[in-house]
């Protein structure tokens, strides 16, 4: 161990700039998250099981109720949105709020770790976690149900980036507003479960009542999953208005900034 400490010491003076600090903090945060068993369950386990079960239940025959595509393809393509929503509404806010609750953010700030660096590292953590989780779910789905190749790969990528930005913004906003990890867990689940059910992860829109369908239309997840399905499968019944999740993300960013400013007083 002594040798390890000495080796670290020798490299110390070169890593003082903000980018290096953000990179170091991101690596640290990822290591900490990987040591949390609940992260694996919430981010990977839940979406993976649900998507694979739903795809298996409704089969592989194209169905008008699913916009004319095979239900397994419908759910597998939609799993991208399901995973990044779980990351944004469960993993990130709980992580940030718990950090705040026990004084970790205060400890970081007192040591000169700027708020900008901490937020940048949280965004990086969201991007990496979201991407890895999506890759794992898609690989598992492909192995089980033979997911077709995307009709418009760039479109899928574009909607994925918009979705990631939207849910990272929501995650940081929830983490900024909610003071405790328990509050973040409760609120996150309260928002995530109905959003998952009505936002493209649950029953197809054709099976929803009018009221539920209307609620589904205002959920950002519906538009992100709709956009991804359109780009991947070539058709969808889901809404896919690009500006809506962008507007939600902007509101989330403004909320996070306001909350942080109030805390700084």
């Amino acid at each position: 161990m002594t040798a390890t400490i000495a080796a670290r010491t020798s490299t110390r003076a070169t890593s003082s700039d903000a980018v290096a600090t953000a990179r170091r903090l991101t690596a640290m945060e990822l290591r900490l998250l990987l040591r949390e068993p609940m992260v694996g369950v919430g981010l990977l386990g839940f979406p993976l099981v649900i998507v694979l079960v739903l795809a298996g239940v409704f089969g592989q025959v194209p169905d008008p109720a699913f916009g004319g595509v095979a239900p397994d393809q419908h759910y597998l393509a939609g799993s991208i949105g399901v995973v990044i929503a779980a990351m944004g509404m469960l993993t990130l806010p709980v992580h940030i709020s718990t950090h705040r609750e026990v004084g970790v953010l205060r400890r970081f700030r007192a040591s000169g770790l700027s708020t900008g660096v901490v937020i940048a590292s949280q965004i990086a953590v969201g991007v990496i976690l979201g991407t890895v989780a999506v890759a794992v779910v898609l690989l598992a789905g492909t192995a089980v149900y033979d997911l077709q190749t995307p009709v418009d790969p760039l479109g899928v990528l574009g909607w994925y980036v918009v979705g990631l930005a939207c849910f990272i913004a929501i995650g940081v906003a929830l983490g900024s507003v909610l003071s405790t990890g328990r509050a973040a867990t409760a609120v996150g689940n309260l928002i995530y479960v109905p959003m998952f059910m009505l936002g493209g992860g649950g029953p197809p829109r054709g099976a929803m009542t009018g009221a539920m369908s209307s609620i589904s239309t205002v959920l950002p997840l519906s538009h992100i999953i709709g956009g991804i399905r359109l780009a991947w499968l070539g058709r969808t019944d889901d809404p896919h208005t690009l500006w809506w999740p962008i507007l939600v993300a902007a509101v989330a960013v403004a909320t996070a900034v306001r909350a942080e400013r109030r805390r700084a007083v």
Binding site: M1, T9, L25, R35, H99, G103, S111
Partner: protein, 323 residues
């Protein structure tokens, strides 16, 4: 509101063009005010901290100590007054200042699963020339805890880690807020020794505490806060001395003549209770009484004195300023 001001810096250390010694001040606080809603937390707090001293901010819970040091570190904004730390305004310099000072905060923690070595490594990376990590870990007895997660550390181990993190960047000034809370008596005294070492190595230490004994034993100079106001400023001895007239000397001698003792320097009163003689006085009254007994060839084996403690003075000051 009366403030006990007791100037303690030796005048021969001051420059001729700087009679107040302001050039030696690393921290200057003037008329600091802060409110939380309708509650006035700081009401015109002023003090300075000199280079190389172990400075204590002493007060009861809710006196405004933590708010003051949080403002000094730029973690809170003041409503009024001015603050200068290392020539910087904490409200503007923010992160830049916080990288120059060390900080051990009250009620701050690390992630449960973060290991000791990872924490030291991360915080060291924030500074251009940090302390050698091995040396720091050995100094604070953290070497054997290097891979232990934060959640598995005892209260004392956590405090040692926080102080090590505060010192990892070789700061000119270090803020230690309620440093020894949760420590057992042995750990407390060991920590005091190390804090003295930190001061002796040239780091200016600002110690925030409600523990009068800790302030008295450790600090070169103390500011006492009560209800957001400075009620005393000076060395522990000078603050105690300001209580005045309360040295009580006693010894056993059933036959000694008390009349000459009433004329000894510093003696205020002499009384006999049974075979015990009680003398109350100021200054070097103990020495004069002892010399008198020896001169009369009646040295008392149980001659003893009770001097007012800083705690006595602290209680008096806080009660006085609260009434």
């Amino acid at each position: 509101m009366r403030t006990t001001q007791l100037v303690t810096t030796p005048t021969n250390t001051r420059r001729p063009d700087d009679p107040e010694g302001a050039a030696d001040n690393l921290i200057e606080v003037r008329d600091l005010t802060k409110r939380y809603g309708s509650t006035h937390v700081l009401r015109g707090v002023s003090f300075s901290v000199r280079r190389g001293e172990l400075f204590g901010l002493l007060g009861t819970n809710g006196a405004g100590k933590t708010t003051t040091v949080e403002i000094l570190q730029g973690l809170r904004r003041a409503d009024g007054g001015s603050v200068d730390v290392l020539g910087l305004d904490p409200g503007r310099a923010g992160d830049r200042l916080r990288r120059l000072v060390g900080s051990q905060l009250q009620d701050a923690a690390l992630p449960d699963r973060m290991r000791v070595g990872e924490a030291i490594d991360l915080f060291a990376s924030l500074h251009p020339a940090p302390r050698p990590l091995r040396e720091l870990a050995e100094e604070w007895q953290l070497t054997h805890l290097w891979k232990r997660p934060f959640s598995a550390l005892s209260g004392g181990e956590r405090q040692r880690l926080f102080v090590a993190l505060a010192l990892v960047g070789c700061p000119e000034v270090v803020f230690l807020d309620e440093l020894t809370q949760n420590l057992d008596p042995v750990g407390r005294r060991r920590t005091w020794d190390v804090v003295r070492q930190v001061r002796d190595a040239g780091t200016t230490v600002v110690l925030v505490t409600h523990d009068v004994e800790e302030a008295e034993r450790l600090c070169d100079r103390i500011v006492v806060l009560n209800r957001g106001r400075v009620v005393a400023d000076g060395t522990p001895a000078a603050i105690v001395e300001s209580l005045g007239g309360a040295v009580r000397v006693q010894f056993t001698d059933p036959r000694i003549d008390l009349r000459p003792m009433r004329h000894l320097p510093g003696v205020v009163s002499v009384e006999r209770h049974g075979s015990t003689v009680h003398v109350e006085g100021t200054g070097a009254v103990l020495a004069h009484v002892g010399a008198h007994l020896v001169a009369k060839e009646r040295p008392a084996e149980d001659l003893s004195a009770h001097r007012p403690t800083l705690e006595d003075r602290f209680v008096a000051l806080t009660e006085e300023s609260s009434s």
